[in-house]
Subunit: 335 residues, 2 copies
């Protein structure tokens, strides 16, 4: 089933658009990338992760079609690369992403019903680390850890110049390292996972812990759990609110310790931080740097760079997923 | 400087011995491996890690010479591969191994002064994981984590069929993941490192914590800190001593949690446990299995095998270091 436009009729010279999609816990971003790696058009829409994938896919298809119609007939669609949490390229499925109500779905197949071009899926953090090593802060590096700080916490790893996928395409789940046994309940069903502390959600949970533990007045006492966002906490912290600042200090401290531990396993040359939470800037980065320096093993000291992503939100994953899909266009056609 | 024997005069057909050395925190093992991967002769000696490397190397050279003399003239020495903690193949040095008083030493160069053959060094855990994937429990697997439970705690990683070395040859230092911030002091100068809990030393430290925290009678109250060994704790546990058994239960529990966390990062098909502490058998393995099953993220459940090494102590590292050195004999000769 196509929606009228013959997206597949691209010139045979490898030109044309490959759409990259980044599915986030809160928002999804679609970008149309040309053969030079330039993002030609982009659109955002709310993911609504608590709805089913069957409701999500038609909305995604509509946004992709809209972008392509904007750019057609000058340049045509050749393929689609989708970055999603809990996606396995090898198995072609998305399996129960931790903050979603999707279950196990054949996302590539479902999206493929709307378009006459190959659709590939990959883990969101893998897409982002590819984007960063090809176009971003880690350009040209061979041993890189990309850490995504959004609704959840994830990592993509490039080791010795190659994506580290693991035996089941599931490497890099650092958000589900248990850092506090018996601690905060996680959407994965266990307790004490890193992402319950180190993420946008983690910042909000820490605020509520601080509100419970102190009596100091703060505007945060007038905000409900459902209404609180990490953006609000950041803006209050910048206005001098102690509770808000303390929540970021604790998050940054936990992040620095986690990164020091992860360095001892992967020995990267750089760690790139990305995701919505990095907009908090020094509120998060300063305590993270201090804690990292305090906790990192002597033999790695001064050898690992902590970088902030230089790409806009979702761009690393869009560019990575799109270039990953473009690399494989030929393989797919040949099969 | 050679000691009289012309070790280099091997036949040109790739035959001959390559000695593998495994330097442990307590004992070192030397093995002479022939071109079929068979261990032809083997010798042990105490490492005395608190002495300098300058005192260790002559003792090592004497053991190697002894083994070679045993086997000469039938088969001759072609090369030496040394597995040492904190060794970097790329930089050719051993840099301050955590439980040693060596500082930073050019171990390959120092040993090379005694023999007329190429000497290569590599990280002990890297050697062991090569040995296990080539000759042991993980034969033929492409994504394997080898965990060494000895005086310290280390890991060697094979990802996608290749040794994961990291940007500075220092990947896999899982013994220095901080699992308990502010916890037990570690020889690395920090606090709360995994190996202060999960290692032979960790078992003994846990015993002393238990002795301090209870008043129950146990023969362990008659043993000094310096005299206590994990072997003694294991043998008392097997005789029904509650304190000794509890020390292994806690160690196994911590090990299972650590392995569950590490699986979330590397996504291996198997974890192979080796090192002196695995002689404790079910005392350690049973609580480790339970804790691993309890803590591992849902998506990895039933996908990761926990295996015990099937090779004898030090053999994996000897075989790995020897085969690594043999692979590179030609490269070295050509240079």
């Amino acid at each position: 089933m196509t929606n009228g436009i013959r997206y597949g009729e691209a010139p045979s010279d490898g030109a044309g658009l490959v759409v990259g999609v980044d599915i986030g816990g809160t928002n999804s971003v679609v970008g149309a990338v040309d053969e030079t790696g330039r993002l030609r058009a982009q659109a955002h829409f709310p993911t609504r992760a608590r709805e089913s994938a069957e409701l999500f896919v038609p909305r995604l298809a509509q946004v992709i079609s809209g972008l392509c119609e904007e750019l057609a007939p000058h340049i045509q669609l050749r393929g689609i690369g989708i970055a999603s949490p809990a996606a396995s390229t090898r198995e072609g499925i998305v399996d129960n992403p931790a903050n979603f109500q999707w279950g196990k779905v054949d996302l590539a197949g479902m999206v493929g019903r709307y378009f006459d071009v190959p659709v590939m899926i990959m883990n969101d953090s893998d897409a982002a680390v590819l984007g960063e090593t090809r176009y971003g802060a880690a350009r040209g590096m061979s041993n890189v850890l990309l850490v995504t700080l959004g609704t959840g916490l994830g990592a993509g790893i490039v080791a010795d110049g190659k994506l580290l996928e693991g035996a089941h395409g599931a490497a890099g789940e650092i958000g589900h390292i248990i850092v506090s046994p018996g601690g905060r309940e996680c959407t994965c069903g266990r307790r004490g996972c890193a992402e319950t502390y180190i993420s946008a959600t983690g910042v909000c949970r820490t605020v509520f812990e601080l509100l419970a533990g102190s009596v100091a007045p703060t505007p945060l006492r007038g905000v409900s759990y459902d209404a609180l966002t990490a953006e609000l906490v950041a803006s209050l912290a910048l206005q001098g609110d102690r509770c808000a600042a303390e929540a970021f200090e604790r998050t940054g401290h936990a992040l620095g310790l986690l990164l020091a531990n992860v360095v001892a396993e992967f020995d990267p040359e750089a760690i790139v931080l990305c995701g919505g939470l990095i907009h908090a800037g020094e509120l998060l980065a300063a305590p993270a740097q201090t804690s990292f320096a305090q906790h990192v093993l002597g033999r790695y000291k001064g050898k690992v760079r902590l970088l902030l992503s230089t790409l806009n939100d979702g761009e690393a994953a869009i560019l990575g997923a799109s270039s990953f899909a473009r690399d494989r266009l030929h393989e797919v056609v040949v099969r």
